[in-house]
């Protein structure tokens, strides 16, 4: 279970303080599929980065399975990111020097999984997202949709309980977007918690629950 408590993130812009997040309290149950929707600048990506342990809050806290992530050091946060969370970015963010198989295997590499094991699992995951025939392709040799599917396979590499998508369909066409949403729904059916940020109402409608955000606050 993920819970935020008075989560606040303030950016200093010259003399002015800008509240990207303001006292956000949100509970996300295990196995839930939640979409956070809102215009750009509403703070939804900031919320996602805090939940995903990519960033630290100004005040307030994020609890993941009861652990206060604010109390963890660098390595502890890296551990959470590695074991519990799979991140999917709008820009795919694959490592362009590595092929699909190596990209998917990379999180397992950082987790210290043996080479044969991780390559085997990476291959299975790529097959699962429908790219079994493209495992040796580099990102530059793949379409946006294919790259995003590699990114999903990569997010699953250490078998995380939570998959976080920051506008995962933002850079692909509608049809590919549907495929990707289908994959995420599948992952949700496996029991994983899915948190997706989007500004596309149609995408959001496929989630189990939708939360709206505006000016750094979650609306009820």
């Amino acid at each position: 279970m993920i819970r935020t408590e008075n989560l606040t993130k303030v950016y200093q812009m010259g003399d002015a303080e800008v509240y990207a997040l303001h006292d956000v309290n949100l509970d996300i149950q295990d196995g839930e599929f939640i979409a956070i929707i809102g215009p750009s600048g509403s703070g939804k990506s900031t919320l996602l980065n805090l939940i995903g342990c990519l960033d630290k809050p100004t005040s307030g806290a994020v609890f993941i399975d009861g652990i206060n992530t604010g109390k963890l050091n660098e390595n502890g946060l890296a551990e959470i990111r590695r074991r519990k969370i799979g991140f999917i970015f709008q820009q795919f963010n694959l490592v362009h020097t590595l092929n699909a198989l190596e990209n998917v295997a990379l999180p397992m590499f950082f987790a210290g999984v043996k080479r044969e094991t991780r390559l085997k699992r990476a291959e299975e995951l790529l097959a699962k997202v429908g790219l079994g025939d493209r495992i040796y392709h580099k990102p530059s040799e793949m379409s946006g949709g294919q790259q995003q599917r590699v990114a999903i396979a990569r997010a699953l590499s250490n078998d995380p309980e939570v998959v976080i998508g920051d506008e995962p369909t933002g850079n692909v066409d509608t049809e590919t977007g549907n495929t990707i949403m289908g994959l995420l729904e599948g992952l949700n059916k496996e029991g994983r918690t899915i948190i997706v940020v989007t500004h596309d109402a149609e995408i959001a409608a496929r989630a189990g629950r939708t939360k709206r955000m505006r000016d750094g606050k979650v609306l009820d």
Binding site: L54, R81, R82, V95, T97, L106, P107
Partner: protein, 396 residues
């Protein structure tokens, strides 16, 4: 671990041009050190090596050295020579006379130094180390024969002198019976500009009975200094003076040359160190650029679970791989450059020496490359590892 090397190798290969430039930067610095030191060692060894061959020699001269100039105080007598001969431990002794004479070949006249001495003994000092290029060495009964140095034959007169050519020395006719090879560095000033005569002929031609130079060979090099002292005492006693004669062993000259070479090598290493500093700045710059360019990638790696230490070790492995290759290339380039420098410098300066590439210099070069590479990779690597993932991911 192997996988980290693979990952580092991938990113080195990805930025091929830049990696090659970095490798070259290190290689040039290392090559400078290796080549300059090898040339220094080569010069030293060429000269001390030859000197070692003459380590059993003692030069005895009637005069003193003040500062860098030799002042002749007179000449030795036959009694001096006989007394020196009696000293125990001496293998050979050659009494020589020398002076300038007017020499005419065809229509050109030139002043040339004449050396006269016992042909057998003189021969044992010069013929073996230098070698005769044309003709033969003097015989005891060559009253009208002479052997000439390389420069006398080639440079002093309008035409090149060969065996059987005639020279007029102070009005007397002599026939060239032999021409020396071009002497190596050490013997060059002793042989190349001289004409050699038998003792008898030189006394006639120079109109003198004086002995101006005695060369002594000892049986045991370790006794050379002692014997030199004894020679000095014996001759000084004969002349009733305190410092009439100087007797120099080659050993003392080798020592002096050694200190000179230490200074030269110090200067060479200094120059090489500057080259290396420039190279390290280059490496650091490249590594910083590489970190900047891959800020995004670092962010992604951290987002998917890489620890700071993972990122740090990746970048350190990368910079040590680059420096290792740079070090190897630098050692090879340096060794080749040393050979080329010694060859062309030898030709230009008229001395012959080969560069000496010592294994410890190569190892040192490799070590320096690694240390410089890792140190200059460390700052950027640490900077990379400490980046906040969200800022790094946002960086495009």
């Amino acid at each position: 671990m192997i996988d980290k090397f693979l990952l580092a190798y991938r990113s080195i290969r990805e930025k091929r041009t830049r990696s090659i430039l970095t490798v070259l930067g290190i290689a040039v610095g290392i090559a400078a050190i290796v080549s300059l030191m090898s040339v220094g060692y080569g010069m030293e060894e060429a000269i001390t090596g030859e000197l070692m061959g003459m380590a059993d020699m003692i030069s005895v001269m009637p005069g003193k050295i003040t500062g860098h100039t030799y002042v002749e105080l007179g000449s030795f007598t036959d009694r001096d020579v006989k007394d020196v001969q009696r000293i125990s431990g001496i293998k050979d002794i050659t009494a020589m006379t020398y002076d300038a004479a007017e020499v005419k070949y065809r229509n050109k006249r030139a002043p040339v130094f004449i050396i006269g001495g016992d042909t057998k003994e003189l021969g044992s000092f010069y013929v073996e180390p230098v070698g005769i290029k044309e003709g033969r060495w003097l015989r005891e009964n060559d009253f009208k024969g002479c052997v000439i140095g390389h420069r006398v034959a080639n440079d002093f007169f309008d035409d090149i002198i060969h065996v059987n050519d005639k020279l007029i020395i102070n009005g007397d006719k002599f026939i060239v019976v032999g021409v020396f090879e071009k002497a190596s560095t050490l013997y060059a000033s002793d042989v190349d500009p001289f004409i050699f005569l038998t003792l008898h002929a030189s006394k006639e031609a120079l109109q003198t009975d004086e002995v101006k130079y005695i060369m002594v060979r000892v049986y045991d090099i370790d006794e050379a200094e002692e014997i030199a002292e004894e020679i000095k005492e014996v001759i000084n006693d004969n002349h009733g003076l305190d410092d009439f004669a100087i007797a120099m062993t080659m050993g003392s000259m080798i020592e002096q040359i050694g200190t000179v070479f230490n200074i030269i090598r110090g200067v060479l290493v200094g120059i090489a160190a500057i080259a290396l500093v420039v190279a390290s700045i280059g490496i650091m710059n490249t590594m910083l650029m590489s970190v900047m360019e891959r800020t995004h990638e670092i962010g992604v790696m951290k987002a998917i679970g890489a620890k700071s230490s993972d990122v740090l070790s990746l970048f350190l492995i990368e910079s040590s791989m680059v420096s290792l290759v740079g070090g190897v290339v630098g050692c090879v380039l340096g060794a080749v450059a040393a050979k080329v420098i010694s060859l062309s410098a030898g030709t230009a300066l008229g001395i012959e020496f080969g560069a000496v590439v010592k294994p410890e210099v190569l190892l040192g070069g490799m070590a320096v490359a690694m240390v410089v590479g890792v140190l200059s990779g460390f700052y950027p690597a640490r900077k990379a590892s400490r980046m906040s993932p969200v800022e790094a991911v946002r960086y495009e």
